[in-house]
Structures are given as C-alpha cells and as structure tokens.
C-alpha cells in the first residue's frame, strides 16, 4: 500500500527510474552514458537552486503584496512587461529555476501575462546566451532573432492571459501548511466533510484535505475547525506581519 502510494505521488520520478533500470539491463553502456550526461545538469542544479530558493523565500517575506501587484500586476501595463523581460533576461539558470520565483510572484499578485514573460525570457533571451549566440551565429542573426523573440513573447503572453485565468493556477503552498489534519487525532466523525465538502474528504476512515481546492472561505473554514470534536484540524491564516 505504502509503496503504491509513493509511486503514485512520484509517478514521473518512478518512470525515469524504471527507464534507467531497463537501460542498465539491456544496454549498459547507454545507461552509463546517460548518467554521465546527467552530471552536467546535476552540477548546474546544485549551483543554481539553493540561492534561487533562498531568494524566493526572502522576497516572499520582505516584499509586500502591494508592491508586486503595482509593478507586475494586471494594472502594471507596459511597465510590468518591461520589468518582466528584465527579470527573466538577467537571470541565471535553466527554466525550471524560474518556477518557484514565478509561483511566488503570482501568489503576490503578478499577472499571468507577466509570469509567462518571465518564464519565456528566462528560457530564451538571457544576456550570457546572447553573447554566446554572437560568437557562433553572428551579430546579424542574434539581433533579428532577439527582436522576433521579444515580439513573439509579447504576443503569446497576451494570448495566454486571455485563455488562462488566475483561478486555473493552484494556490502556492510556499507558506508552511495553511491547513492540516492531524490524522492520529481524527476520529473519523465526518463533520468536516459535511461542513466543507469542497476541502475535506474521507480516506480510509480518516479525514484528509482535497489537494487542489481553489480558495478557502474564511468563515466556513473557521467554523469547520471549531466544529471538529477532536481538534484535529489546524488552520494557519497568513502569518506575514
């Protein structure tokens, strides 16, 4: 049971592991080559991710929501677009390094459009990359590609913002758990699932939290927390002071 659950949660990781196992059995050399290839990316990750995580957390705690909303929110217009390009363009690291930063920014009010701009420019128009491009493909090539790419990003970030809305993006669990159930204390009385079925469900006789609930109704949730006879639900509304 436990193993199955572990596989379910880390399904992608499990598939990769399986692929390596198969490769190691049938084509050992290729498997070893794969591991050697991974080395570079592993080093890159170790060099990039620790400061990115710390920076994300620091920005989250120090920069107030209003500031992000003002500079990167839906109302920020041209200024927001420009800032987003700047942020993505001067950054270091692969595209996945932009994920935690963007999740945090979105949580603090950055618009979907600006998030897409940051992600895309982070990936494709970095300054060190441009220098490299000049070296191998020439100034002419680089300048035209750069201009076209910037225009393309401006257009498709706008299209994305038309199709994807804020509610489509899961709430960031960057804060320590907002809502948690102490399953040892839970007596399985189902009161919470009756009070707030959008958030709570029963699993193997114990209450659990539905992972992708969208928003929390402040009144309803505090009512549910109080109602629990075992005091098993803990709710920590934003502790940012």
């Amino acid at each position: 049971m436990k193993i199955l659950k572990l596989i379910k949660v880390n399904f992608f990781a499990f598939l990769v592991l399986l692929a390596y196992l198969v490769l190691m059995i049938f084509n050992r050399n290729l498997g070893i080559d794969s591991l050697k290839n991974s080395q570079y990316y592993l080093k890159e990750m170790i060099a990039i991710m620790p400061p990115i995580f710390i920076l994300t957390a620091l920005l989250d705690l120090w920069v107030p929501k209003e500031t992000i909303l003002k500079y990167l929110g839906t109302g920020s217009k041209v200024k927001g677009v420009f800032l987003s390009f700047l942020l993505g363009g001067i950054s270091a690291g692969p595209i996945y390094a932009a994920f935690p930063v963007c999740v945090m920014l979105h949580k603090k009010g950055a618009s979907i459009r600006n998030i897409v701009i940051i992600l895309s420019s982070w990936a494709v128009i970095k300054v060190p990359m441009l220098l490299n491009e000049v070296k191998f493909l020439g100034v002419h090539f680089m300048v035209i590609r750069w201009i076209l790419t910037v225009i393309a990003i401006i257009v498709f970030s706008w299209i994305t913002s038309l199709i994807v809305k804020d509610k489509d993006i899961p709430e960031a669990d960057i804060e320590l758990p907002l809502l948690a159930i102490n399953s040892k204390a839970c007596i399985g009385c189902r009161l919470c699932t009756k009070n707030y079925p959008q958030v709570f469900k029963m699993e193997n006789g114990k209450a659990t939290i539905i992972k992708d609930y969208k928003t929390l109704d402040e009144d309803l949730i505090s009512q549910t927390v109080k109602a629990c006879p075992a005091n098993a639900i803990s709710y920590n509304p934003e502790t940012n002071d």
Binding site: S34, L35, I52, F53, A92, V116, S120, K126, F136, V164
Partner: protein, 160 residues
C-alpha cells in the same frame, strides 16, 4: 560556474545578511521556507535532470543534426522543432551545435526552430510545471511557445 551564477550567489548572500540584521526571526522563517521549497521540488528536478541525461544519450544532438540536414526544409523545420521540444540543452552546447548546423548547410529556418523550442518548450519539465502552475497554464504556455517558435523560425528565413 558562469559569471551570472556567481552574481546570483553574491546578491543572495548580501540580501540574506541584510535580512539577518534587520529581522532575525523573519530570516530564520525564510530559511525554513527555502528548505521547504527545495524539498517539494527536489524529486521532480532530479527526475528532469536524469531524464535529460537519458534522452541525450539515446538521441544525441549530432544524430538530430545529421537527420535534419538530409531532409527538405519544411520537414526539417517540423522535425527539429520537435527534437527541440523533447530535450533541454544548455546554451553553450546549443549555439555551437546550431552554428555547425548552419555551417554544414542546414537552412536557417529549421536551425532557429530547434534553438527556440530547445529552451522555451520542454516536455521533460511539464510534470513539474503542471504541479506548480496547473494543467491549463502548462498546456497553453507550451503549445503557444511551440507555435511561435516555428513562426519565429519562418520569419528568420525571410529576413536572413
């Protein structure tokens, strides 16, 4: 480490020290948050890394180049855009590679298509992106990036 990574470390260290002086408690909280973030992403990122290693071993970039060079331009563009989509190659490998492609006589359009999808669209990062931003965002962003990558490539063909 390249210069930008070093700058990232320095900036982070300075901000961290500044934060520590201003509010010790808050900084400790930030550290806890950073560790939490790292833990929540570690397995996904490691999977991405080892998958890239595997893909690069099974379909080496040189094979892609060889294959693309022998096809007509339209087919080559589509194929190279797809190859770019499934892999994620660091810029310092991608540019020399595209440089050799162009030198070897591969047309500009497929080369640029390859270059753009290489970095902007990533099949390997989709599971992580989905977890962080939801399915709809991930799907729309990757599809649009792919389409526009081809558009950029076609326009490059006109201008160069």
């Amino acid at each position: 480490m390249d210069r930008f990574t070093i700058i990232l470390w320095i900036v982070t260290a300075l901000l961290f020290i500044f934060s520590l002086f201003k509010d010790r408690k808050k900084t400790v909280k930030a550290l806890k948050m950073a560790t939490g973030l790292g833990k929540s992403m570690l397995v996904s990122i490691l999977s991405i890394i080892f998958l890239i290693g595997l893909i690069l071993a099974v379909i080496p970039p040189a094979t892609i180049a060889g294959y693309v060079a022998s096809k007509n331009e339209f087919l080559a563009t589509i194929v190279s855009a797809f190859f770019g989509t499934i892999t994620l190659i660091p810029a310092f490998i991608a540019f020399p590679l595209v440089g050799t492609l162009v030198d070897a006589g591969v047309a500009v359009v497929p080369s640029v298509a390859f270059l753009t999808t290489l970095t902007m669209v990533g099949i390997v990062t989709i599971p992580l992106e989905r977890k962080e931003f939801g399915s709809r965002f991930t799907l729309v962003r990757n599809c649009l990036s792919f389409l526009f990558a081809i558009l950029i490539a076609l326009l490059m063909g006109v201008f160069l």
